[in-house]
Structures are given as C-alpha cells and as structure tokens.
Point group: none
Chain length 204, copies 4
DNA sequence: TATGAATGAGAGTTCATTCAT
DNA sequence: TATGAATGAACTCTCATTCAT
C-alpha cells in the first residue's frame, strides 16, 4: 500500500521532528517578540501544534531557551564553521561579514542576553551560556590556528586575547546592524585588521 | 512667598523629582528583569510611590522606556563625555575601558535592543533609537576630531566608518562582559588600536 | 444631594465589603465543588466581581481558605456560641442537634480537611487549623463549665477528654448527614448522653 | 498448556493484577493529594505503568473513585470484619480504637466525601455511596447482634439508631485524629459506652 | 494490553491600565 | 498629584482524555 518510499516514521523520529519544528518556530517568535514577549501558544501554533505538544517536549519556557541555544550552537559548529575553515584566510573576513549581514537580528546574541539574565537563578542556564561562549571562542581559535600563520605561533594567552577581541568585534557589529545602524564590511575590516589582519600571511 | 530659604519646592520641581526618581528606579528594575519582565508596581515601589504616581508622570510603559533612553543619552552627553574629552588622546582608551567595566550590565545596550524591537510599531520609539545612535556616533566623532590628530583630517566618510567601528568594538566588549566573559582592557586595545590607535599622535 | 443617609462609604469600608462578599461567595463555591474544584473566577463572579478584585484582596487561593476559616471560626464564637450558652443545659442538646441539621454540608469540617492536607507544607495553614480546633474545644468546654453542673467540677484532663468526645460525636453526626445518612437528634442524644447526659440535671 | 508449575498468568489474571496495582496506587495518591489533586499520571506511575494502562482498565477518573470505594468496602467486609467478630464483645471497643488509630488519614471517609459531592450528578456514584454506608451500618449491626447481648434483643429501629450513633462516633473520632487532634481510646470509650457499653453483657 | 504524542479546556496568577477619590 | 480598588486580557502550566501504534 505505502509504496517503496522510506515509509512511516518511528515514534522517536516523529518526536524529533516535532521538537525541531517547535525549536524553529521558537527562533522566529523570539526574534519577533523577545523571550519574555514570546507566547508559548504562538510558538506551538507557528510550528503547527498546540500548546500540549510543546509541554510534552519541553519542561517549561526556560527549557526551550536552553535547548534552542544548545541546538543552535551545535548547528553552528557543525554547519557554518566548516564553511569558513574551507576558505583561505584572506577570504574569511569577507565570509564573516556576509554571514553577519544575514543574521539580523542576531538571534544568538539576543538569546545569550536572556541566558545571562537567568544565569544566577538556574545552574543549567549558566552552563549553557558558558558552553555557547566557549564554543564560539574555540571556533575563532580554530580560525586563527592556521598553518603558516603567525597567529598560530602566538602563545595561548595572547591567542585567547585575540579571540576575545574578534568575538567582541563581530558581536558589536552584529548588534549595531540590529539597531539599524548601517554597518558594512568596512566596519569589521577596520576592527579586525589590527587583531588578525596583519598576520594573515607572513608574506604580507 | 518663596523666601530666601531653601524652602518649599514649586509644583514643577516636585513633579520633576518624582519623575527622576521613577526613572532611576526604572533603570534598576530594567537592569534586573528586562523591560518585559519589569512590573510597573515594582518601579513605582522602588521609587517610593505607587502606580498612580507612575501614571501621573508617564503615558504608559513604552513612554517610560523612551523617556529613560532620552534622559540617559542626554546625561551621557552632558556628564560623561566632557570627562573623556578632558583627557589626552593617550588616556582615552583607558578611560573608556574603565567606564565600560563599570557598566555591567550595559543598560544602554539592553534598552536599545528593546527600542529596536518596537521600532517598527511606534515612530516615537524609532526616533528615540535614532537619536541614541546619532548621539553616540557624534560623541565618538568628537573624540576623534582632536586637533593635531590625523583622524581629524580624514574625510567625513572615513571618519564615520571609524566611529562606527569604535562603537561596534565598545558595544561588543561591553556585551561580552555582560555575558560573563572575562574581557579586559587588552580586548579593547586590540580592537581599537587598528582604528584609532596608530593615529593617536602624528609622531607615531 | 445625597440625603441624610450615612452617605458614602470610605475606601476601607468598601474594601471590607468586597472581602466579605468574596468570602461568602467562596463558602458557597467550596460547598458545591470543594476547594480544589472551586474556580476563583466562579468565586469572584458569584460575589459580583472579576478575578482582579479577588487578587487585590487575597494573596492566593490558599490565603482564601485560611481567611475563610478564620472568619468563620470567629463568627461562630461571636454569634452562635452566645446563643447556646443562653440556653439551659437541658435545651442545649436539642439546640446543637438543630444547628447541626442546618449545616449540611458541614463546611467547617470540609474546610478543616483541606487545611489538614496542606498543614505540612504551610505553617500558616497549620496555625489556622490549630486555632479552629482549639476554639471549638474551648467552646465545648465553656458549655460544660456551667455552674452547678458536676462537669464543672471535673479535673481538667477529664474535661478535655469529654470535650474531645463531644467534638468527635458532633463532627461524626454532621458528616454522616452530609453523606446522606438519615441522622436525627436521637443519634446525637445516644452519643452524648454518656458524655454529658447524666449531668443534665442533678435532680434527674 | 498452563502446566502444573506456578507458571504463566492468564490474560484475565494479568489484567486483574494491573487493576489492583492501580487501585492501590490510587489509594496512596488520593491520601496524599485528595481526589481532585490526584493526577492520573501519578497514579499510573506509582503503580509502575503509564496512563495508557489506566485507561485500559478504567473508564475515567470517576470510575476509579467508584471502583476504589467498592473494593475497599468489600475488603473491609471480607478481611477486617471477621477479625472483630472473632473478639468477645468486651474486646471489640479496644479493637476498633486500635484499628482507628492506624487509619490516619481515614481514606474511606475522604472518599465518601468525594462520592457525596458527585452524588447528584452521577447515579452510579450515588449507588456506591449508598452501598458503602449500608455495608458499614450492617457491619455494626452484626457486631451488636451478639447472642446474649441485650442489644440483640432491641427492636430493629432502636438497633439502627444505635448503629448510626456508633458509626457517627467512630467517624468523628477518626476525622479528629486526621485533623491532628490527639484523640485516644478514651474518646471512643466515652462516646460509645452510652450506646453499646452498658449492654455488653447483662452480667457486667 | 499498554505506550506515549498530542489535544485542548481550564486553572491560577500577573500586570498594564482605568478611574473614583 | 497621588492613591489603590477593580478590570480584564494574556500568560504559563496542568491534566483528563484520545488515538495511532
């Protein structure tokens, strides 16, 4: 009856689909209304479910925030990062600038701010925030640790300082765009050239 | 009637005091709970009033947000800025870094994010957000337009790019601190040296 | 304009009226649906208000339960008790039986059961339950401490035992009526005669 | 197939085990949280199942209440009652007092109250409540109808009045214990001596 | 028979806001 | 100007129940 297609999904698979849809919907609703402003009914409805589906997949609203952050940071590390690493150092700045321009509003930043507000009241939240930052810093470090680059030869402490600066620069530029300020690739270039630029090739 | 003594306050003065107290209380409550999470009763109570006082002084909750942003940006321009301008270019970076370290959480940034979320639905909010950004950019421009500096001689477009970069850098560093990342003066230095650093003295 | 009548009510008076109406409504709704089954909206509506009025008068649903118990026990001590005390010992048993017959369902008992369920989680609830029982036992003791009665001359411990027995008897009879059992004055007479009966007239 | 070994259980037996476990779990959860406060998931979980098992065995929550009452009253008649009847009349009061002391909270009473609340809306519930009361009254009547006792010779109407009084006394004492009142055997003795005491043997 | 994802009515509670005082 | 009782919309979360598996 049901043709040669991959047929029916198992329960676990359906559950996973539901979760992912809810998470995607949450990303949209958070983007539009912020965390506090997001109604769970809206999240569920946008995912095509009712509120009950939400509560059978997430413990509560905070859990949703945490899960969303975890998933997005994982997805970032799995999907975006390899893309950048595949570029030559020269192309990376441009790639990051383009990527940034697409991320308006910068959901990760807004989510991180919400995490920060709840950090002191919920250890799990604190752990997630920590993981987000650590992952990002690690990703930047990977970007700098390129063979032949003088950055790769810097002492760890120095490399971390630079990673911090890069993260701050990218974060700030992203946020500014979100605030409606016309930030272009030039902004990022100005900011990051001093941090990673001159090192992007010993020849230079 | 109103003798030479410090004596009684006029009606307008009392009103102004009430407003200011409410605004100060709002800054605290917003800092703790965010805009959506802030209850007007809490704001009023922290200021020593009840909600009636609030509604005698502000049209609604959004009005409070707008007024608070306006006041803070005015206060920044009037109080903080002159302090920086009084420093030599060499000292400024340190001054900004210190100032930043005190601003955790960076209320202005959080408020701006709230403004941004309401920008499309409320023209007054949009205007305020614009004013905030313009003022900050103007302030940075003032900082760069120092006599003798090569920055001062840059074309306007270039100067704006640099101001943007500075604002992004400062914003990003501030936000990172808020997220619990251990950002020190070094981060800012790395970020801004490329933008304003080398120019901080024609001799260099 | 507003004639010689006692005119307008002060705010505190209006508030008190509101509270009393809500409490009365709560007694009715609890009677019909039990505590858990009672919806605050129903309570408010039956009192002629909306849910907001409820929450500006009571902290939460448990608070309502506590306040209701307190008020009813006070009212009992102030209103019912003097009535019984005014009777001769011979008439009292009949009076209590009649009073009991009217108390279907026996709201005080049902409320006390709810209090008991929450006793361990809320000290205030425990205190209220304690007060209810103490007041009732005290009332019974007063009833027994009649001049000339041999009960009055019993040692305290013995008097307490008897008070306990009376309370148990009245409680049980009341509950049985609530359960639909046709309990008449005879039941109470049989039960209490052994406890207080022989004393209902030394001549007898 | 089902050999001589203790071996496999038939389908009906398994079903019966499941039902009994659920019923036992329900008794516990009702005791802790009351009927309205009891969650079916909790009942199922405490029995080691999920909600599906519950709905395979009971029509709905009310059905659970009814079945539980039926079972308990049957169990009482089958298990407890013979124990009392085996005692001499003199020992019975003590036996009942001890049994009472163990029944805190007095689940039967609490269940009966729930039944009473639903009596008017559900004929089956009304029937169950009736059966519970009738069974208890019959049990008490059996206790009184002992050979040689003067109670046994009383006219039926009188015997019923006494049974009612006994039930009321026991119920009241039980409830008082549940409310935290320190009710001892003495309370019951005082209450019941007048009803059944002097008759417990003409010799005495 | 038992599971568990999903439903959806309904609950308690919060809170921006109004308005008579 | 400031108070605070009252409103009522909106929200998070619970839970009895259904149904495909």
């Amino acid at each position: 009856m049901s043709g040669g297609a991959p047929a029916r999904l198992s329960r676990a698979e359906r559950r996973e689909i539901t979760r992912q849809r809810l998470l995607d919907a949450a990303a949209e609703v958070f983007t539009d209304h912020g965390f506090d402003g997001a109604a769970i009914d809206d999240v569920a409805a946008r995912a095509g479910y009712t509120r009950g589906a939400f509560y059978s997949n997430f413990a509560d609203k905070t859990d949703l925030l945490v899960q969303l952050c975890e998933r997005r940071i994982e997805a970032f590390a799995a999907d975006e990062l390899p893309d950048v690493l595949a570029r030559t150092p020269d192309e990376r700045l441009g790639w990051v600038a383009d990527w940034l321009a697409e991320q308006v509003p910068p959901l990760e930043i807004l989510l991180a701010i919400e995490l920060a507000r709840r950090r002191d009241h919920d250890p799990e939240v604190a752990a997630t925030l920590d993981r987000v930052v650590t992952t990002l810093l690690g990703a930047i470090d990977d970007l700098m640790a390129v063979e032949g680059s003088t950055l790769a030869e810097l002492p760890d402490v120095e490399r971390r300082d630079r990673a911090l600066a890069v993260l701050a620069g990218v974060t700030g530029a992203s946020l500014l765009r979100h605030l409606g300020v016309d930030t272009g690739p030039r902004t990022l270039a100005l900011l990051l050239d001093g941090v990673i630029g001159p090192h992007e090739g010993p020849a230079a």
